[in-house]
């Protein structure tokens, strides 16, 4: 059962990628905010179950987001990799964190990712990315994160507590 569930985080993140590029018709900032959702999911899984979100999968998910959202290849890929790395580094010191510190971590990581994407796109287009749009998208993504994390936590309960190694490498 656990082996069957192993690709679930990647599949769920891929669904978020697809949802992010559907024509929802929201305000200007909503498309950027939607693109931040799969990145938030990558951060969540890298923090909680990194063996289920390997680096190459993050790379592939980021590429899918780049291609489908018609951004220059590599922009969202590097952003997703950055979020995954941040999740893994935060995980090392995680026990003992309160909710306030975790929330600050999320805001810091999403700000880092949004800023990084803004700088990359500004350099690419040789024009400043609109700060207001980026700020609104960041705010929306920060507000959406607890809901997303709550839903993903429900999925996470499918695995035994503290199961840590790659399920397909267990050998026992």
């Amino acid at each position: 059962m656990a082996v069957v569930l192993a690709p679930l985080p990647i599949v769920l993140t891929l669904l978020l990628v697809i949802a992010a590029v559907l024509p929802w018709g929201g305000p200007d900032w909503s498309e950027m905010a939607l693109a931040l959702l799969p990145v938030s999911a990558v951060y969540f899984w890298s923090l909680r179950r990194p063996h289920l979100m390997p680096a190459l999968a993050v790379f592939a998910l980021g590429m899918a987001l780049d291609v489908l959202s018609h951004h220059p290849l590599g922009v969202w890929t590097s952003a997703a990799l950055l979020a995954a790395l941040a999740g893994r580094l935060a995980r090392r010191a995680r026990p003992g964190y309160g909710w306030a510190r975790s929330a600050l971590n999320v805001v810091a990581v999403l700000s880092l990712v949004t800023g990084f994407v803004g700088v990359l796109l500004s350099a690419y287009a040789w024009a400043w990315a609109p700060a207001r749009l980026m700020g609104e998208a960041l705010l929306a993504a920060c507000i959406a994160y607890p809901v997303l994390a709550g839903l993903l936590s429900l999925v996470e309960t499918a695995w035994p507590v503290a199961e840590d190694r790659p399920l397909f490498l267990r050998g026992d």
Binding site: M32, H70, L73
Partner: protein
């Protein structure tokens, strides 16, 4: 079982580190290398490497059936969102439509009269009828937006007769043009995109200008002659200059934002569902094709040598 309950398991790294690499630097090393690769791809995209375009189109083609089904699955949620947005402005919209209806009734009679006059004048001066342009209607299966992108993905491509450069219309007016085409999908560039430049005519005096997208909802008016007197409410149509778009496609109206006059597109991009792609061959492209064909023919003649019949001998006309 003991292992499963190990409280420190949460703290351990998931993957065994690379041989000779300590656990502490393993993740930064692997992720750093992949980020470097991703940044390399950004540079390749900037340099417009051909392989990037080919790969992008191939992935879009492969993903288009999934996106089509996903859009259909998400449709109820999408419609609900739109209904809620409409509900808030229902009374206001109703009053506006009633006013508009009154005005349009007056215009209808006048338009019929003008139509009769125009066709009579055309008859008199023997105007050559413009060729009918074919079209294909496709669904927008993906929207894409960001600080510098305003585009969409259509579920029709080369197999349906689409080509890069074709104008894209919604029921209201010009929405954009086809940017890249795959076999089953096509990427369109919306008129509000940062890279969109459309030659237009504005108002009764048909002042020529260029509508310049800046990713905002109201594109700019550029290259407008100093002496032109345009004002808020003036209609904006494509001018046909440059041959990229046919003349007379409705684009929008002039609005005053307080600090400048801008163009408000007639198309509601938040409601872009089905669009029609006009099979209008850009004149510059057809001229370029012709030029290429002539050059190719000339080089073939040169290669074959003087023994090959020339146009003067009635064999091959250039």
């Amino acid at each position: 079982m003991t292992k499963l309950l190990d409280p420190d398991a949460y703290r351990r790294d998931a993957w065994p580190p690379l041989p000779g690499v300590s656990r502490r630097v393993h993740d930064p090393l692997v992720f750093g290398a992949l980020i470097a690769v991703a940044l390399g791809l950004v540079v390749a995209s900037k340099l417009e490497a051909a392989i990037v375009g080919v790969a992008r189109t191939a992935v879009q083609d492969a993903a288009s059936p999934v996106l089509r089904r996903s859009q259909m699955a998400a449709r109820p949620a999408l419609e609900m969102g739109r209904m809620m947005a409409d509900w808030r402005t229902l009374a206001e919209t109703n009053a506006r439509l009633r006013d508009e209806n009154e005005r349009l009734r007056g215009w209808e009679a006048r338009a019929r009269l003008l139509e009769q006059q125009t066709s009579a004048l055309n008859e008199m001066v023997r105007v050559v009828a413009e060729p009918q342009v074919g079209f294909a209607t496709a669904r927008v299966i993906s929207g894409a937006g960001g600080p510098f992108v305003r585009s969409g993905l259509l579920d029709a491509g080369r197999d349906h007769g689409l080509k890069a450069g074709y104008p894209v219309m919604s029921a209201q007016g010009l929405a954009g043009r086809v940017l890249t085409v795959g076999t089953q999908s096509a990427r369109i560039l919306l008129v509000t995109d940062y890279n969109s430049r459309i030659p237009v005519v504005i108002g009764k005096d048909a002042a020529r200008a260029v509508m310049q997208g800046d990713n905002g909802p109201l594109p700019r008016i550029a290259y407008l002659p100093r002496d032109s007197a345009i004002q808020p409410g003036d209609d904006v149509f494509t001018s046909g200059v440059g041959g990229l778009f046919p003349r007379g496609l409705r684009v929008g109206t002039v609005v005053d934002t307080g600090d400048a006059l801008r163009i408000e597109p007639v198309v509601r991009f938040d409601r872009l569902d089905y669009v029609s792609v006009l099979f209008f061959e850009p004149i510059s492209a057809s001229l370029a094709d012709e030029e290429r064909a002539i050059e190719a023919r000339a080089s073939t003649l040169k290669r074959l040598g003087p023994s090959w019949p020339t146009s003067a001998e009635g064999g091959v006309a250039r």
